[in-house]
Amino acid sequence: MSEEELPAWSLPAAAVERIALPEEWPGEITRDWAWGGATGAGARVCVLDSGIEDGHPLVGKVQQSVAISIQGDEVIVDEEDNQGDLCGHGTACAGVIRSLAPECDLVSVRVLGAGYTGSGAVLLEGLKWAIEQGYDVINMSLSTTKQKFASLLHELADTAYFQRTMLVASAHNMPVESYPWRFSSVISVGSHEGHDPLEYYYNPAPPVEFFARGVDVEVAWNGGGRLVCTGNSFATPHVAGIAALVLSKHPELTPFQLKSVLYLAANNVGGGK
């Protein structure tokens, strides 16, 4: 074992010094410590959705647009997708993220458009591709109810977590089992009725972990338009945007640490008060 290699599975006494963290943990986590002065610059955020309208006034430049489809047994990744947004929803999520983290990099991975049939498989392949790219944050305002994808999605969510990709997913507000938001390796988000985009709460009774602004949100929509929308779909990019801010200021944070910072800076916890 070389001197530089970190102990992966155990921690001999002599190795304790070698896992020193790059930054001292502050005595108190405040919002100012967490994201004060941050713009999102340097954070790479992926929106797994219906596409993003590049150049929308509320979105700005989209760094890359990718489309995932499946033909037969083959997964097709079009790395220069020019279809834009097929619904408006992805653009809405992207606009919320950029409103909070204006200088983050945005990548659209479009997993919608090929019809309902096979949409679960496309979602899975899209997520897999996005995780392979090593984005800092993946916003996923969608879920699947198909049991057969649950274990694969679980593995993907854990892979993302351990490679420092934070998956932020919309919780379901209906009595159905759906994935991947229920997994503990992702951040799951529901809605509160407040108006402040930075107002968010930690939920001490999971599986929904955080509540963010999700009611009557003015969002970007297709054709350069704007709409007022409600749904956990719009609460999710608020947390994704805040996560991008935190990671742009503290890029060394692991998903575990990021979750801890988000917890400590929540409105109902010390740092957010």
Binding site: L86, C87, G113, Y116, S119, G231
Partner: protein, 212 residues
């Protein structure tokens, strides 16, 4: 299928489609009344055609929309179906694509809509929409929960309707389960025959059941 068996199955199925359709209609009627909305509709997903079909409509469009179809991945209803996420939009008119492609083709352009997926077990069966609730009051999460409750009821009704249709198709010798009805009929006819093929067929079916 023997006459007795056919009669028994038919008794369970006949008329049920109309009943389940009446239940769907009642759900959209009540949803429209509770939300004080201009219209409400239920779309059924036709998986074979990959299309959404207007199955029940209350209020504006109720005369002309039932039976109309559109691709399952377009518009707000398509997104809600695929993403499994409910969505509420105020001021739909600001979405030019939505207005042009979906609403105008139905002869009614709503200002706002609530759309919720109809989920039964792990399947997405369709979408419930409520159009043009009064916009003078803010939307609340309590309304979202109410919409979810309606959706749950509508999903159960839609599941029953689909089952009734499949059973009727099987009785009529159509659909992908018609072969099961034909096999049952043949086995029923051979009930008194000494020939060993019936016993072999039953063994094979028992194995098939295990496999499934």
């Amino acid at each position: 299928m023997s006459d007795d068996l056919r009669a028994a199955v038919a008794a369970g199925v006949l008329g049920s489609e109309e009943q389940f359709q009446a239940l769907l209609q009642s759900i959209v009627d009540v949803a429209r009344a509770i939300f004080k909305a201009k219209a409400s509709s239920i779309f059924l997903l036709d998986e074979e055609a990959d299309e959404l079909v207007f199955e029940a409509v209350a209020g504006e469009g109720s005369d002309s929309l039932v039976g109309q179809r559109f691709p399952s991945s377009t518009g707000i209803a398509g997104f809600v179906l695929i993403s499994r996420q409910p969505l509420v939009i105020e001021d739909v008119l600001q979405d030019p694509r939505f207005s042009r492609e979906t609403a105008e083709s139905t002869g009614f352009v709503p200002k706002g809509l609530m759309a919720v997926p109809l989920l039964h077990e792990e399947r997405a069966l369709g979408v419930l929409e409520v159009l043009d609730r009064p916009q003078d009051t803010r939307f609340t999460l309590a309304e979202m929960d109410l919409l979810g409750l309606f959706a749950n009821q509508a999903a159960i009704a839609l599941d029953l309707l689909q089952r009734a249709r499949r059973a009727q198709a099987a009785l009529a010798g159509e659909g992908d389960l018609a072969v099961v009805a034909r096999v049952a009929e043949t086995l029923e006819q051979q009930r008194d025959e000494e020939d060993g093929s019936r016993a072999s067929a039953l063994r094979l079916l028992a194995e098939l059941e295990k496999l499934l």
